[in-house]
């Protein structure tokens, strides 16, 4: 049985204007009972061809482990699907290595949790052909060869260790350890190059000279695969035998290898006016304009209102800005939550850089606060609960919103929606070196957590802080730290600020709710709630520890008692004196 994941009709001619690759593959159990190898390849259509390229992967499940077959399948399926799901803005190296690392982590945890103590170990060699370049990602002892102009060259290095004459051990494999070093390589490709990917069942039994002769013999890749298999079998291979052959018939344009060029391919749209039609979308109204972007209300051919956001020409050649803008739409498109605005695919291919979201009629939270603050406590809790749901959907995708403010929340008929992802931080993008210097500080002064400004570590608790500021503002119409908050820049300045109890401005706020706010608004992230759900719980039900007011001086709690007491004491002294005088 062959464990081929995608079986393109081989030899496959891919009719792309740029990169053309002919391809064939084969994977057989050979003399073994089970095929633990997996091979697979993916030839994407359309834009992904330029941004992601062609990927082919070969994996050899490590034979000593009975979960080997599953491991190799997981690796190849995983890499071929997840690699194409990474954002277009990521560079190839970044995308593939991140996907491989996460597969490694998955396989490792499978081994850890396996009751039969089986290891999910596999080799993996991935070849990506994109534009005029190739990218190799390699772990283990599968191989990738290049056959160019009659010369065969091995592009990978086997990760194996010879113990004695008869025993070699794999020194690196996917799933072996939490940390993994991946061999990465990037080279230019040329027309007529043939790439050969193989597992040890093949290349251990055919020497390079024979291999060279065989590759020269015919143009039919399919027939060659079969011939290679047969030769390996005849030479006594007792392992599974897998081979992939890819021939470059035409190379792509070189510019596509450059991240910035890919990004700036789409021109910025011009400033639009009501009545203008762009890609079949009619502009109805300018909703908002700022120094950084324009937001329009548009209508598609069916008359559905949508919101179009376009980048500001001010940033036409600012690569960091463009990357952020493209990422914004990507972040939105991978979220599906009732409280996060949906990103909509444009009806036609985009001719300019912009993105579309659904249109939510309704006021922004800014307007709601302006008109209605202080909001009834129950309303505020309801709104914040929905916001928490939206934010948790982001957090589940390893994304921080970073710029929660009333302007970015629309209160619609179906509840609140978070509408802006302009400042989002996605785990995995930032940690990789990017060729583009990113803007360091994002977010809005009054609503962003202190750690953004004093440079402390940020995390989901930073969004918790912003949510708490919103809640506080809904309840009181004020900022929890007053005017000084916007000016503080360094840690000592933040430490000087003190939380102003919401009770001061709105006596209807329950004491326990005020305490829950205070905790979420702590200047030290570590002192805030562990999770948003805990905070939400404290907002919805009284925390038993906080049922009474904090111990305040008597003068503040019951001033009248203080004065009464003083008066009584005064009289007592007077009476005492009188008694003293009379009795003398």
């Amino acid at each position: 049985m062959s464990a081929t994941i995608t079986t393109p009709k081989a030899p496959m001619e891919h009719l792309q204007p740029s990169l053309k690759v002919a391809f064939a593959q084969l994977s057989e159990a050979g003399r073994k009972a089970e095929n633990q190898d997996t091979v697979g390849a993916r030839f994407p259509e359309g834009a992904a061809m330029a941004t992601k390229g062609v990927a082919m992967a070969i994996a050899d499940g490590v034979s000593s482990s009975s979960a080997a077959r599953q491991a190799s399948q997981t690796a190849v399926t995983g890499i071929l699907t997840d690699y194409y799901a990474t954002p277009d803005t990521w560079r190839t190296g970044q995308s593939a290595s991140r996907v491989i690392h996460s597969l490694n982590r998955y396989l490792w945890s499978q081994s850890q949790n396996n009751v039969r103590q089986e290891g999910y170990l596999t080799t993996l060699s991935l070849l990506v052909l994109k534009g005029d370049k190739l990218f190799i990602f390699h772990v283990g002892d599968s191989r990738i060869y290049r056959f160019r102009a009659g010369q065969l060259e091995l592009l990978t290095r086997d990760h194996s260790q010879r113990i004695d004459k008869n025993t070699t051990y794999l020194s690196r494999a996917l799933g072996a350890d939490l940390s993994l070093e991946i061999d990465m390589e990037s080279q230019e490709i040329e027309r007529g190059d043939i790439y050969l990917l193989s597992t040890d069942g093949l290349h251990d039994f055919i020497d390079e000279k024979t291999l060279t002769q065989m590759l020269q013999s015919s143009d039919d890749l399919d027939a060659q695969c079969k011939a290679l298999y047969q030769t390996a079998l005849n030479n006594g291979s007792e392992d599974n035998i897998s081979v992939q052959l890819a021939r470059v018939d035409d190379i792509g344009t070189p510019s596509e290898s450059d991240a910035i060029t890919v990004l700036s391919r789409l021109p910025f749209p011009p400033l639009l006016k009501p009545g203008h039609i762009l890609d079949g979308l009619t502009v109805e109204k300018i909703l908002h304009e700022s120094e950084r972007s324009q937001v329009y209300l548009v209508k598609n051919a069916e008359g559905t209102p949508l919101v179009m956001k376009t980048p500001s020409v001010n940033y036409e050649d600012d690569a960091a800005y463009i990357e952020r803008f493209v990422r914004e739409s990507w972040i939105g498109s991978r979220l599906a939550n009732r409280h996060v605005v949906r990103v909509v695919e444009p009806p036609r291919t985009r001719t300019c850089l912009y993105y579309l979201t659904e249109y939510i009629p309704g006021p922004t939270l800014t307007q709601v606060i302006k008109e209605r603050a202080p909001l009834p406590v129950s309303d505020a809790v309801e709104l914040i609960e929905q916001l928490v749901m939206g934010i948790r959907a982001l957090h589940r995708k390893d994304t921080l919103h970073q710029d929660l403010k009333p302007d970015n929340v629309v209160v619609g008929a179906q509840g609140v929606r978070i509408v802006d992802f302009g400042s989002c931080w996605v785990a995995g993008i930032e940690e990789m070196a990017s060729p583009i210097a990113a803007d360091k500080i994002l977010g809005t002064l009054d609503y962003s957590a202190p750690e953004y400004r004093y440079g402390g570590p940020t995390g989901p608790r930073s969004d918790q802080f912003s949510l708490a500021v919103l809640m506080y503002e809904m309840l009181t119409g004020k900022h929890p730290f007053g005017e000084g908050y916007g000016k503080a820049m360094a840690l000592p300045q933040f430490q000087k600020l003190s939380y102003r109890s919401a009770l001061q401005f709105n006596p209807l706020v329950p004491v326990w709710m005020d305490r829950a706010l205070e905790k979420a608004l702590h200047t030290q992230p570590a002192q805030r709630y562990e999770a948003l759900s805990e905070w939400l719980q404290d907002l919805k039900r009284p925390n038993p520890n906080w049922l009474t007011a904090k111990q305040k001086p008597l003068m503040e709690r019951h001033p009248e008692r203080v004065w009464k007491g003083l008066a009584i004491a005064g009289w007592a002294v007077a009476v005492g004196l009188l008694v003293f005088v009379v009795t003398r």
């Binding site: 510019s255 450059d258 910035i260 060029t261 700036s264 021109p267 910025f268 749209p269 011009p270 400033l271 639009l272 006016k273 009501p274 009545g275 203008h276 039609i277 762009l278 009619t282 300018i286 909703l287 908002h288 304009e289 700022s290 120094e291 950084r292 324009q294 500001s312 020409v313 001010n314 940033y315 036409e316 050649d317 600012d318 001719t351 300019c352 800014t366 403010k405 009333p406 302007d407 400042s423 803007d439 500080i441 994002l442 977010g443 809005t444 002064l445 009054d446």
Partner: protein, 491 residues
């Protein structure tokens, strides 16, 4: 929430309020900066000055502006425009008061020199307005800012002579100038109280890269270095002018010290430029989309040299020119007529930008420069025999083209290289001041008629230079009749 048109009267909108707040700050810096020009006879009389000394004073007034633009740019990046503008106004107000109280020519010269710092206010407001307006409106908003602000020199020429006469006495001019200083001081506080660096709910004030300009070829690197030399040369000429060889304000030793400082500054700046461009010079490839021609920057610099440079020079001498050319003219009337030049700022500067947007960059720039050439040649012919109204029309004709040219330069600055807009604008602005110092230095050697003639001659040369200007390229969009947008790629 937003509309296509910018309504300047809609003060319910925060950015309109800020625009008014900011252009008035710029306006006041101009009032303070040119408060001396219309009061020439009074000041000369009080100090028993020679004509040469007065002309030296005019040059001193614009000299410090050249380096201080760089300093102000750095301060804005570090502290934000709000506080820097407030401090600049306050400092200007104080120096203005000091100038009003000066007892010797040396003191007068010193404070005029220091007041040159106020001339750097322009940069601050451009940054501030840029933070507050969306791309659709920013061009017009900055035109209004620049144009209405520049009008400050006209306002000073218009009012100060009358004010001085109202106060009366030998010290009337001192009170008049003092009042402008007090106004600047008071407004400084008001501005700080009302202005904000960014719109509410917006991100932080974002510093721009300062230091050297990035260029994208080796040839351009040397071209850029060469373009920096005129700034130092003209300052060196000024130092020479002030040395014993000239008006003798500086001792020979101090003059050498000045030359030394200029040399060090020049070396420092070159090292900065080298630092920014090091990678490129060592052969790091510049991505195709990032390339631009420094030639474009240089042409804009020279265009601003002759437009803004001549404007600063002319507003410094025009009130006195009227007074001296037409017999029997009162000081107040001469001031008012001298203001005619800066008057056109209200419409010509924004208008120049508009025309440039509409009718092509090179064509409109060429027309403006030819217009101002004709204007200056006409002015050189003005003499006492002319009817005064004819002279005023000639002045206004000339100034229209001068200021439209300024508007056209700044409309094109962002199109050279968006990312480097701030630095390109800064360099053009510096060239404007180099122009002012150059023309005023020339003025110190010749009479008014020759002075105008020389500017006209310069303009002719620059007309030739402008012919090398290339229309900015990129994607153009065309709106069809049904409103659909098609994209035309220009290559």
């Amino acid at each position: 929430m937003s509309s296509e048109k910018l309504n300047l009267l809609d003060v319910t909108r925060a950015n309109i309020r800020l625009l008014h707040l900011t252009w008035f700050a710029f306006f006041l810096t101009f009032v303070v900066w040119f408060s001396h020009a219309p009061l020439k006879p009074l000041i000369m009389e009080a100090f028993n000055m020679s004509n040469a000394q007065w002309k030296a004073l005019l040059i001193l007034n614009v000299a410090l502006t050249i380096p201080s633009r760089i300093v102000v740019g750095i301060l804005v990046d570090k502290f934000g425009p709000r506080i820097v503008y407030s401090l600049l106004l306050a400092a200007g107000g104080l120096m203005c008061l000091a100038f009003a109280c000066a007892q010797t020519y040396e003191q007068l010269a010193l404070f005029r020199f220091l007041l040159g710092f106020v001339g750097a206010g322009f940069v601050i407001g451009i940054r501030l307005v840029g933070e507050w307006f969306p791309a659709r409106h920013v061009g017009l908003a900055e035109g209004v800012y620049g144009g209405w602000g520049n009008f400050g020199s006209a306002a000073a020429a218009f009012t100060l002579p009358t004010l001085a006469l109202l106060f009366g006495g030998d010290d009337g001019w001192r009170y008049a100038i003092g009042v402008t200083g007090l106004m600047a001081l008071a407004y400084s506080g008001f501005f700080y109280a009302r202005a904000r660096n960014t719109p509410k709910g917006s991100t932080y004030f974002k510093p721009k890269k300062s230091g050297g300009l990035e260029v994208t070829s080796k040839k351009d690197f040397y071209f850029y270095l060469a373009m920096n030399l005129p700034m130092y040369i003209i300052l060196a000429v000024l130092a020479w002018k002030l040395s014993p060889a000239g008006v003798g304000l500086l001792s020979q030793g101090t003059t050498y010290l000045m030359y030394g400082i200029l040399l060090v500054l020049c070396a420092y700046q070159f090292s900065q430029i080298y630092k920014v461009n090091k990678d490129m010079l060592h052969g790091a490839p510049v991505p195709e989309h990032d390339k631009y021609k420094f030639k474009q920057v240089a042409i804009l610099d020279w265009a601003y040299f002759v437009t803004f440079g001549s404007e600063l020079a002319v507003v410094s001498m025009l009130p006195a020119f009227f007074l001296e050319t037409f017999e029997g003219m009162t000081l107040a009337a001469a001031g008012a007529l001298g203001a005619a030049f800066a008057f056109m700022n209200l419409v010509a500067r924004p208008g120049g930008g508009y025309i440039s947007d509409k009718f092509g960059r090179r064509l409109s720039m060429s027309i403006f420069i030819i217009g101002l050439t004709i204007g200056y040649f006409t002015l050189s012919q003005v003499n006492g025999a002319w009817p005064v109204w004819m002279a005023v029309i000639a002045v206004m004709f000339c100034s229209f083209f001068v200021q439209a040219g300024e508007g056209a330069v700044f409309a094109m600055v962002p199109l050279v290289k968006r990312r480097l807009t701030g630095q390109v604008a800064g360099m053009a602005g510096a060239y404007g001041n180099v122009g002012a110092v150059t023309f005023l230095t020339i003025y110190s050697f010749v009479d008014a008629s020759t002075f105008f003639m020389v500017i006209g001659g310069c303009a002719l040369v620059i007309f030739g230079i402008v012919q090398f200007l290339e229309e900015p390229q990129g994607h153009m969009h065309e709106v069809n009749e049904d409103g659909s947008i098609t994209q035309i790629e220009l290559t």
